[in-house]
């Protein structure tokens, strides 16, 4: 129950500060627009592989930017206030769920923008949608814990990047592989192996975040 309330509070807070979410949207838009402008002379340069690399790097960077705010944004006294109100478990779950939806929103918006400005080489849409969901889950679960670590250490913005990139690479590699299958239009059963591995990694990372977060929260 408390978790639900916390999720609602997060989203209300986000809607109230419209500058953050519109800033993210603009970030995504300008990135895709820069791709469009730089590649506009040679549209044929963007073959499916370049497309998937550009797409996932864009999603990764916007995810890192948005999730790194999830703990840094909070004011000093707020921590202690929440600490007295709820358990760390409900806080991490609420953050995970909220960040998952944020990542999902970012990914699908990014996909739409890519469709409009560049092109859409994806053939197997259902598998690709599943991949986006799995990737959003993976990014949100690994980045949420790291952002809480980075928020406790002081020079957060650099530290967030340094800590998160090596950790999310394994997710990114799997996702790019599945995307390649989707673009090539292979049978969906070809990607099942990777998707199960991705699911397993996501479960592992989520479990670790859930177990480890209380120790960070306490300090």
């Amino acid at each position: 129950m408390k978790t639900l309330q916390l999720i609602i509070k997060e989203s209300q807070l986000e809607l109230r500060r419209k500058s953050v979410i519109s800033g993210l949207a603009l970030y995504l838009f300008s990135t895709v627009f820069i791709y469009y402008l730089t590649f506009s002379l040679r549209q044929n340069l963007i073959n499916p592989f370049v497309w998937s690399a550009l797409f996932w790097v864009t999603i990764l960077f916007s995810a890192v930017n948005s999730i790194s705010k999830s703990f840094i944004g909070e004011k000093r006294g707020q921590d202690i206030y929440f600490y007295s109100l709820t358990s760390p478990e409900s806080i991490i779950i609420s953050k995970l769920v909220y960040n998952f939806f944020l990542c999902l929103l970012l990914s699908f918006t990014g996909y739409g923008l890519f469709m409009i400005f560049i092109n859409n080489p994806v053939v197997d849409h259902s598998i690709f949608a599943c991949t986006i969901m799995l990737a959003a889950w993976g990014f949100s679960s690994s980045l949420t814990l790291l952002s809480s670590i980075a928020a406790k250490a002081n020079n957060s913005s650099i530290l967030m990047a340094v800590l998160s990139f090596p950790v999310v690479i394994s997710i990114l590699l799997l996702v790019i592989k599945i995307t390649k299958n989707c673009i090539d239009g292979l049978e969906s059963s070809v990607s099942y192996d990777e998707m199960v591995t991705l699911l397993a990694i996501n479960c592992l990372v989520t479990a670790m975040s859930y177990l480890l977060f209380p120790y960070i929260w306490r300090s």
């Binding site: 250490a153 592989k177 591995t197 960070i216 300090s219």
Partner: protein, 226 residues
């Protein structure tokens, strides 16, 4: 003698590995030829690295359960030694790859995974460097240590096995078991694994002792200045 027999053992085993690994007979195989001797040095170093990181993670978990500075010192020292063994492993692998694959960095999934695993641990040291408060440093780095180790497992053990790799032992390439049907190579390989693990533990314990002594000196100086 009772206390340091394993140090003598580690030195003897590594000397034996160097002599035996370079002189003993090895199976003749196409392309690989004499470079198969890299197995005696490269693979045991990776084993050593994984063991060191595992011990480091265990101490990190112990620190979270029981936050005394000693556990943190153990954790960081084993992570240091693990990183050194990992870098040695990657260097020996590159030497091998230079002669067998034609270039030191071939972009093989195993090489990339290993490099990323090392990056994760570099990030661990950067995290430690950027926090000033000692207790907070120990706690945050313990959390990241456990997190890093769990994400390293898919990177080293699972993903390379799913993609086609030219590394021996994966993607249909002959692995360790196929090289030595007469298990001659095991005579050197297993002692090498034990030798490197023991040497790593020895270096780690030395670092731990230096660190503990330094902490004691600091405490003593604090008391003196009061």
């Amino acid at each position: 003698m009772k206390k340091y027999w394993w140090k003598i053992l580690s030195v003897t085993l590594i000397l034996y590995t160097i002599v035996g690994g370079l002189l003993f007979d090895v199976p003749r195989l196409n392309i690989v030829n004499e470079t198969i001797r890299a197995l005696y040095f490269h693979v045991p170093m990776w084993f050593g690295m994984v063991v060191m990181f595992l011990v480091s993670t265990v101490y990190a978990a112990l620190y979270l359960k029981n936050p005394i500075p000693k556990n943190d010192t153990y954790s960081i020292s084993f992570a240091h030694v693990g990183l050194v063994l990992g870098m040695l492993g990657i260097c020996t692998g590159m030497i091998w790859a230079n002669y067998t694959w034609g270039s030191p960095w071939h972009g093989d999934p195993k090489q990339n995974g290993a490099a990323i695993a090392l990056l994760i641990y570099f990030a661990y040291f950067i995290l430690r460097g950027s926090v000033t408060n000692n207790e907070q440093k120990a706690r945050l780095s313990a959390v990241y240590n456990i997190f890093a180790f769990t994400t390293m497992i898919p990177l080293i053990f699972i993903i390379p096995r799913m993609t086609s790799s030219m590394h021996p032992g994966s993607g249909g390439n002959p692995g360790f078991n196929m090289y030595d049907l007469d298990s001659k190579m095991r005579m050197v390989f297993y002692p090498a694994v034990i030798g490197w693990i023991l040497l790593g533990t020895w270096i780690a314990t030395l670092r731990i002792r230096i660190q503990l002594v330094e902490e004691k000196i600091e405490d003593y100086e604090d008391e003196q200045s009061r």
